[in-house]
Amino acid sequence: MLTALIDYESGNLHSAQKAFERMATEVSNEEVIVTSDPDMLRRADRLVLPGDGAFPACKAALVEKTGLYDALLEAVKIDAKPFLGICVGMQMMASFGHEYQTTKGLDWIAGDIEPIEPTDPSLKVPHMGWNDLVITGTHPVLAGLNNGDHAYFVHSYHFILKDQAHRLAHVDYGVEISAIISSGTRIGMQFHPEKSQSTGLRLISNFLNWRP
């Protein structure tokens, strides 16, 4: 099985790659590549959109790479390959992003990317650090995850879901922040599993073993 980490010139690619490679060694016949080649996306069995970056720049980079955007849509929307979006990669799945300006997202999970606005002024933005997950849904990728496990977040914007049924887990930061969301063969994590030590590595391993 081939997992493609999409290189769209934004993001902490190397650390995501290393975490996926580490967990891929525990699954037989599992290969991880970092690519922006549309043909590789078509060949891949699973896709990961890693994340670190501003919404408009990330969206522009996805669209600008020749053939990448179409190959992504084909793989995820038509071929229904398992897809994991991390941080801004998860946010890309929204209908619209409102960072700096309003930008159309992939519109795979209805909702908007809005600034975090805690009512308590002592809560700082970005929401940065370790927060404990409140798990409210069930999903194969969540296997072995416990309520209260900590994940590492770094973000100033968050996913406001149209339909809360897509939410699998959230964290509390003055407001409830969607931490893990899913729809069909797509899953998104607002935190960085590749930076969340054992909890994150477990989620990555679960994603690699997911056969929807």
Partner: protein
């Protein structure tokens, strides 16, 4: 609930840890990657590498260090030292850093923060502010390891870089750095109150109580320390247990 972070900081020069790290049985006390792995295992919430001798010529060693650390440690990593441009940010992020810290370059031209934040997002842009007390309740920015005065007011500068897009401030009191007398709490509180982004308190930690004060009195979102951890005075768990006992939310493992 978001937890307060403890961040061990490793000063590096030419790819080696300055002064070494001696809290566990390391094969090579000067190897930053080995030290990073030990801190990962010890439950540190983040790691910070600062290249204290970074020049344009030896920048490659910092990229290499970020790369090798990211291969071994699946935890957040901030890297700083000699960062001048959005291109430096991209190279460090690609190498495996999660956040990149600007220092002198942000003082020389705060617009470099705007350019970097616009492209990579505020969440990965840290500005390291080195401040010295010049009068009671007044602090000034110093660069070049605290040797060069700039005449720039620290609070004003903090506000400026946050407006430009800095997502976090690493605030070091040059009066306290290395003294083990505790953080400069009035400075920490003044900066923390002046900005909407997280502030990491740095400079002067000698006892665990200092870490508590940085949060409860200084208003810091994270505390950074070097020597008390490197030389084995206290473990990360000692620090977390002490802070949790003082009522600060910590990630315990």
């Amino acid at each position: 609930m978001l937890k307060t972070r403890i961040i061990p900081c490793l000063d590096v020069a030419e790819g080696r840890v300055v002064k070494g790290v001696n809290f566990v049985d390391l094969v090579d006390a000067g190897d930053p990657v080995e030290a990073a792995q030990a801190y990962d295992a010890a439950g540190a919430d983040e790691l910070c590498f600062l290249d204290i001798k970074a020049t344009h010529e030896n920048r490659g060693t910092l990229f290499d260090l970020a790369r090798r650390t990211a291969e071994q440690c699946f935890m957040p990593l901030t890297v700083g030292g000699g960062v001048r441009s959005p291109a430096d940010v991209r190279n460090l992020l690609l190498a495996g850093a999660d956040k990149v810290s600007f220092n002198s370059a942000a003082v020389a031209d705060p617009d470099v923060i705007a350019q970097s934040a616009n492209h990579f997002g505020s969440q990965c842009i840290v500005v390291a502010i080195d401040a010295k007390t010049v009068a009671p309740g007044k602090w000034e920015i110093f660069t070049h390891g605290g040797r060069r005065a700039t005449g720039i007011d620290a609070i004003k500068f903090a506000r400026t870089v946050v407006l430009k897009g800095a997502g976090e401030l690493l605030l070091t009191s040059m009066d306290r750095d290395g003294t083990r007398a505790g953080f400069n709490l009035p400075l920490t509180r003044a900066v923390s109150d002046a900005v909407s982004v997280p502030v990491i308190a740095s400079g002067g930690v000698g006892r665990l109580e200092h870490l508590v004060e940085g949060v409860t009195q200084g208003g810091a979102s994270a505390v950074l320390a070097a020597s008390i951890f490197h030389f084995g005075d206290f473990t990360i768990q000692d620090a977390k247990t002490h802070m949790a006992a003082a009522g600060i939310p910590m990630r315990m493992s």
